[in-house]
Every structure is written in C-alpha cells, then in structure tokens.
C-alpha cells in the first residue's frame, strides 16, 4: 500500500510538472500580457509610454522567454514560493489561501450533497422503474441536467432574492457579519452559500442519480440477484445488499472526475454570485494575463484533481474487498 502511494505521488508530481509546463506555454502564447490590459483600462490622458512599458516588462520578467520564466517559477515553487501577483500586488500564495476555503466550501459541500442524495434517489427510481413517479422524476432529472447553471443561477437570484427576499443575492457574508455571534455567522454563510451550492449541485445530482439507476438496472439482471430473490431475500435486501454494493465502484470512480468539473463550474458561478473563491480569481487572472496567479491556481486545481483521483482509487479497496494495493 505504501509503495503504491509513493508511486502514485511520484507520478502525480511528474503530471503536475507536465500540466504546468503546458499551461505556462499556452498562456504565454496567447496574445496580450498584464500590461496590455492595464493600458486598455487606463485613462486616455495617461497612456503608458513605450519606455515605461519596457521598464515594467523587465520588472515583471516579461522580457524573458517563457521557458526561462517557467524555470524560474518552478525554482520558486521548490522554495515554496508561488511568486507575486502582477495585477493584485500580493503574494499568490496569500491570494489563493484567502480564496481556497470559499471555493472548497461550495465544491466539497456540493459533492457531499450529491452523493448523499443521489444514492437514495437512484435506488428509489430503480425500485419504482416504469411507474409514473419514476418517469416524472427521471424527466425532471433530465431537465435539470440540461439546464445551464448560469441560467439557473439568474433565475434563482430573481426568485429567491429579488421577488421573495428569502436569500441574499450575492457575496459570502452580510455587511454586519463581524458583529454576529458564531451561530449567527454560520447561519449567515449558510444562507449566502445556499443558492450557489444548489447551482453547483443540481447538474451532478441529476447525472449521478441517472448513473446509479442505469448501473442498478444492469446489476439487477445478473444471475446472483435472481438467485438472491429465489432464496427469498426481501426486495430491500436484494437491492441494498446484493445489487447496490456492486454499483459502488463506478460511482466511486466518478469522485475523481467530479472535482475538476466542480472547480471549472466555479469560474462562472462565483462570478455571478460574487463569491470570493478561486474560480472568480481564475477568470479575472486569465483576462488580466496575471501569469503568476494563473499558474498558482492551475497548480492548486491540478493538485486537487489528482488528489480526487487518488482518493477514488483508494476507495476502490474500501468498496470492493477483491481490490488490494499491497
């Protein structure tokens, strides 16, 4: 098990180097640099002179070839430094530290909610296959799956904030957050997180529920299930003990694939909800060509994705006793 872990971690490090190398090459090849955006946004009376532009390029290291700049970035990373954000004038590590928790709050809670809900829903529609209730729920799930999250986000804002006034429109905390008790603060964040978390969740919930159902439908046709039924096992026992456990492995596989999807979803949803997470920072950084921040976020996103995949592989052994890594 230990040797397997070490092997996976080593491969993850190599993968991370390759990912960051390719991404750095790509972002440096896209037209525009951090100064381009600054110049476009500045007062027309105060256009940056070519001499000052060259000075800034030198200061920010933009005058060097991207392979050398990438080498410097990796060198810094080995010394546990992610560099300085060009546009935000802050260390990238600090920027990410401030933004990591809000993003994880949404993505992890969304992942948990998805898994907690998709299993009973999936089992229910398997058991009720062909009934009106199952058809209605399945149709609803298809509709949810095909509804873009940014459209749903706007609808929810209009309904729950503007029309009904039940939930805050945006942000992560209220203006008087600092004056609240611990319970009040928790409740405040919960209220703010509800809409974005719902938007994060419904698509994957619909997909996972359908996934559980289709896997279950395949498994319930197997001989051993028929045998269990013939032996007089109760319908719940058949579904739960004999059928469902065999659908767990592909479900666990999805954990590793869901995390990147959640993180990429954060890019748009965080912007709509003014949620101060890594997604909105990523979006702004790409537009600003803030290379150090883009690289820092790419690294964190990639590491989280690889971590998710490793976790999924380890969970195989938990859900299936036949799998062993020793």
């Amino acid at each position: 098990m230990i040797s397997y872990l070490i092997r996976r971690i080593l491969i993850a490090v190599v993968t991370l180097i390759l990912i960051t190398f390719v991404i750095y090459g790509l972002i440096r090849s896209i037209p525009g640099d951090p100064i381009t955006v600054d110049m476009a946004q500045s007062d027309p009376s105060r256009s940056l002179s070519p001499e000052d532009r060259k000075r800034l390029e030198k200061i920010y290291g933009l005058d060097k070839h991207w392979t050398i700049a990438y080498g410097q970035w990796i060198g810094n990373l080995v010394r546990l430094e992610m560099g300085q954000s060009i546009s935000r004038k802050l260390p990238v590590a600090r920027l990410i530290r401030d933004r990591l928790l809000p993003t994880l709050l949404l993505s992890v809670s969304s992942l948990l909610i998805t898994y907690i809900l998709c299993i009973p829903l999936g089992l229910w529609i398997t058991v009720r296959d062909g009934t009106v209730g199952e058809r209605a729920l399945s149709t609803g799930l298809y509709m949810l799956y095909s509804l873009p999250s940014f459209v749903a986000a706007l609808f929810l804002q209009l309904l729950l904030s503007v029309k009904l006034g039940w939930l805050p429109l945006m942000g992560m905390v209220s203006d008087d957050y600092e004056q609240m008790s611990l319970l009040g603060k928790t409740w405040d964040i919960f209220k703010h997180a509800l809409m974005p978390a719902a938007c994060f969740t419904y698509g994957s919930l619909a997909y996972y529920t359908r996934f559980v159902k289709s896997n279950m439908m395949e498994v319930v046709r197997q001989d051993y299930v028929r045998t269990a039924k013939a032996k007089g096992v109760t319908p719940v026992g058949v579904v739960w003990k004999h059928a469902f456990r065999n659908t767990l492995i592909p479900l666990v596989t999805l954990i590793g694939l869901t995390l990147p999807a959640l993180l990429s979803g954060a890019v748009i949803l965080e912007q709509i909800y003014s949620w101060p997470g890594m997604g909105s920072l990523f979006f702004a950084s790409i537009r600003e060509r803030d290379y150090p921040t883009i690289m820092g976020l790419t690294l964190v996103f990639s590491a989280l994705t690889l971590l998710g995949q490793l976790l999924a592989d380890l969970l195989y052994a938990v859900v299936d006793p036949r799998v062993t890594y020793s």
């Binding site: 092997r7 491969i11 190599v14 993968t15 180097i17 390759l18 190398f21 896209i30 037209p31 525009g32 100064i35 381009t36 955006v37 600054d38 110049m39 476009a40 946004q41 500045s42 007062d43 027309p44 009376s45 105060r46 256009s47 002179s49 000052d52 800034l56 200061i59 290291g61 392979t67 080498g71 410097q72 970035w73 990796i74 060198g75 560099g83 300085q84 004038k89 802050l90 260390p91 920027l95 401030d98 706007l154 804002q157 904030s161 503007v162 029309k163 429109l169 945006m170 992560m172 909800y273 003014s274 101060p276 909105s280 979006f283 702004a284 600003e288 299936d320 036949r322 799998v323 890594y325």
Partner: protein
Amino acid sequence: MLIQINSSQRFLSGSFGRECLAGICLAVCLLSAACEKSSPDESLLAESASHGAEPAEERETLIEPFDPPTLEELDAQVTWIDKPVLDAMNVSREDQEISGPPSATVDEALALRNDSFDANATIVDALGRLPADDQAVNWESQFLRRLEGDVKSTNPLMQSSTVESEVLKYFSVYLHSYDWNMKPFGNANYVETWQTSEDGLYDKIVLRDDMVWSDGEPMTAFDVEFSYRTIMDPAIPIPAVRTGTDKLRWVQAYDERTIVYFHREASATNVWDMWLPLVPRHIYKDSIAEDPTLQTSEYHVKYEQLPVVGGPYKITRRVRGQEIVLERRDEYYMHQGQQVRGKPHFKKLLFRTILDPNTALLALRTGEVEECSMTPDQWLGQQPGDSFDKLNIKASGLQWVYFFIGWNCQSPFFNDKRVRWAMTYAYDYREMLDVIYQGLYEPCNNLFHPDSWMAPDPPLPMIQQDLGKSVELLRQAGWTDTDADGILDKEIHGEQVPFEFTILVAQRPDRIKCCALLQESLDRIGIICHVRPVEFTVLQQKNRDHEFQATMAGWGTGTDPYSNENIFATEEDRNYGVYSNPRVDELFAEGKAMLDPVKRAKIYGEIAKLLYEDQPYTWLYFRNAFYGFNRKLRGYRFSPRGPYSYGPGSDSLWKSAAAVSH
C-alpha cells in the same frame, strides 16, 4: 471489474519507470534553468538592495540633472500671472444658479418614467441639483456603490484602471481639478494660490496650511516633491501615472507650502503634466529603498491595505475582491475646531465588487447598491411598474466616448483612402442607430463631439449609406470584378487578389452586430468580410501589434485633445492602424504649443477635418452613459467623462434628509 482494476495497475506499473524518468529529466532541466536566474521579484529586490544604503533622495532617477534657482531668484526673474483656484462644488453651485430653477420639483421628477429625452432632461435637471442648504443633507447616510472590478492597489501611484480611480479619488489628493467642460483649475481644498510665469515655463503653487494626512502628520510641499521623485524612480513599477509627469523638468519644494513646477517648454498641456497624485513622504521615504515594488514588504502590505491618505475619506475596511469601506475624515474638513472645507456628503461609502452586470442590476433592484451603470439592453429592459422603479430611477447623459471601425492603413486593402471612404459609405448607420441601439446613441463622424470646444467649425457633414458611391470609389481605386465571380479583385504585386478581409471585434453582442451590418452591406457590392469576435485582451494586443486588417474599438475622451496625438500622429503608440499624415503631425505639435484657446480650437478642428478626409476610421456612434440611481440620491450630473470623473463629480452626490423613498 476485477480485470479492469488489474489492467489499471499494470498500466501504472508499466509506465511508471518511463514517466518518472521523463519527469525527473524535465524537472532537472527546469530546476537548472531556475537556478540560473532568480525570480523577477527577487532580481528587482537585489537591484533595489544596491540602493539600500543610499538615502532616498539619491536613488536612481529618470529626472535629468537640474540646478533649480532659489525662490528669490525665480521671483526676480519671472512675472507671475494668477490662475484660478476654485472650489469645484462652488463652481457647480454657481452654474446651477445661472441655469435657473429646475424644470420640475423632486417629486415631479421622481414620478416620471425615463422613456424619452425630455423626461431624462427633467429628471437629471431636478435630481442633479446640489443641496439648497446643509439641512437638506442626510449627513449620516451611506452610499452603496458598485465596482465593476477589483481595486488592485490603494496606492495612488500604482493605479492603472478607471475602476481604481473611481475609489481612489475619494481619498487621494490632487492639487488641480477640472469642471464638466474639462476646464482645469487649482483645487481650493488644498491650494491657496496658483501662478504661472508669463513665459509659461514655471508654475508656482502655495499650499494651504490646514491639511493633514490621516495619521495626523501635516501635508506639505515636500510631499509633492517627494511624490514627483517617487513617480520618476525607474525601479518602481509605476503604470501610466508617470505619463505627463515625465514631461516636467523639475519639481522643487522651497518651503512647507511653496512648490514650483519647472517645464521644459511653454505648452497648453503643462497644466495636465502637473497632474500627479500625492503620497505621504514620511511613510515611504525610507521604505522604498528596501522594497521598490511598494507591495512586497510587510510594511508596504500594511499600508496597501489601510493607506495613510489626505483626501475627504479614509479606508476602514478592505476585503479584496469583495468590498471596500470608506469613512469620512473629520480632520479633512475641520481644523482647530473650525470647519475649513466643505463637509463630505456621506458618512460612509461602501463599494461592492460585482463583476457580473446582471447581478449588479439585481443588486440595484434589491438596494444592495445604489448606483450602477447599465447596458442599453438593461436600460430598455426595465418595464413600467417592475421592481426596479420601487427603489431606483434611470438617468442618462452624453459621453464623449466614440466607437469606430479602424482600418489598417498598411494593409493592401486599406492603404488607399478611396477604399476607406468606400467602406464608410457602405455602412448602414440608420440600421445601427435605430435597430441595434434603438435610438439611444448619437451618430459620430469624427473624433470630437460636436458640443466640444475643439469640434470643427462648421461641423463636418454626416455620412449616409450610399453603396453606389462605394462601388465608384472602389472602381477608382482599381477594385473591379475582372473574373466575374461576384467578388471584387485587383492586381497587387502581379497577383490577382480578391477583396476579402477580416474585422476583429470584442465578444460583445452589440458590437458583433455592428460589424455584421458592414459585412451584409459589403456582401452586396462584392466584398467578402469576415467578422471575428475575439477576447478583449487578445483584441488589444492584436491592435497594438498592428496584426489586423480592420478592427472595431472605442476611445473615451482625455481631458485635453492633445491626448489624441498618441492615436493619430505618425508612429505613435496607440496609432494601431499605422495612419500617417505629416500635416496632422504638425498640427498636433502646433496645438500643444498654442496657448491661445481660440486658435487652439481651430487647430484641433483642422485636425478633425483632415482625419475626416483621410478616414483612418469609419466613425460610428457616441456611446451615452446609462445609470440607475437610488431614488434617495441627488446631485448627479453628467460630464463628457460620465457622472463621476470631473470636479466635483462624485463629491456632488448626496442623500436627502427627508429620505423619502417614493
């Protein structure tokens, strides 16, 4: 399932050695590259370390050596002419008095729906007024504003975007201001007297003696000189703020209140060159040597978060990417128990960063922000009786922001001005104004708005679509359909080239439609036009690198027409289309040197005429400013640079003590 896992394990085991080897090789290469050179920041710090032992005044500088005369020598040598020193609020108030009483009461204006030019004029006239007296103002109120992007730095020297200037103007100190006509004057909040030498080479400013920074230290002329020197320090990553300041020869503080600006030449633009933001010398004089980035050291990070300021407000809270809270500084308007300046109208300002324009509009509806710029679609989308009206009212104003299609004058298609004129005649302006922009925008045919002092007199004729003229001009320029394939062509360098080009445009639906309109018209006369929407930053870089045939973009107005030199003079930085006309270059130089405003206006009018004749751009429209304001707000007035960017601008907004929400 078991087989699947095993094969997965085999894959991992089999490829492990190869992958690791490749990874290690790559890592070694990269690390060795990294070791060759330290990071950009570190190299900068290493460079700055060499300055560390030097006193701040002896650091490397972009200022050329100069030995300034003593003040006595200067006073004996030159004749000083007094220049206006004004309180922007009083200027605005006097202007309102001259214009007479408003055309409607506040209640009448608030009862209107802003669905016509007349209704808009009435609303802005009635609600845009300054308070009649102090009792009218709710001095304890807070103003909730929307920010379209994050404020990346609170240091006025480091500001690079209009978003930052929106916030920083509330706590930054500028010794000059300008009114809604962009006429400059000394800022009476900080300046006692301002004089210019008769030969135009010197400006002398005497500061008021009742100014203090937010940490209680007095603000002096030495802060002005220090700010100038800091801006001219090449090790500091100063963005566009240095532009203009670098035209000054020298800035000298003679005592705590007297500062003299030395110019290289007499110029109408000298006043704009003196436009520099002030930073407190006592905070930065020793720390810059240690950290010239002004953003890395703990010390600078602390002042970046909560800066020491001299303006009417100070920052009390800043959560990056979310909000900034400013509070009124009592020591700004009170001095030794006396009120010495106008009291800022709001006790508190809260800026919320809302990137998404739809969310911003919803926030306006729920009252989470009290002002927000609107897109034309949002402006038209607010229906009678919807929730928008409960809290808000719309107001619009003309802006001198024009949009155009720029032609690359080096391209074989557009190096002939007859072809550029053919493009201009091919455009369907009516369709653009009436259908795409639904009558909200004004047509534009040159770089100056007809209301501006520098607009050509008489006005240049507006152009209407005329495809017949287009075809004729193209024929004269040699573009005909020789091979009868329906596409115009021409022999260029011995090769028959079809007229097929691409127009770059930002990914904005309305602008894409504007380009598609040209595409449709050109299709009718045998020209293939491809419309290529690209990301904004890509568009900027392509334009800067002249890597386009045609591009759609827009320019806002500077405070002075000389800023257009940068756009239209030969080989200038923002001359994306590589346009060149020696006479235009000469006129820009003349316009800068000319001190007589009437003659100066004629020079810029002549420039507009020449540009009109050459058509480096096909000018399309002036983009108006559309805003939603909370019904409690008063005092908004639109300038050519929007409702905020002038004196008093954002300072003139206030909330009524009656605080009646209609």
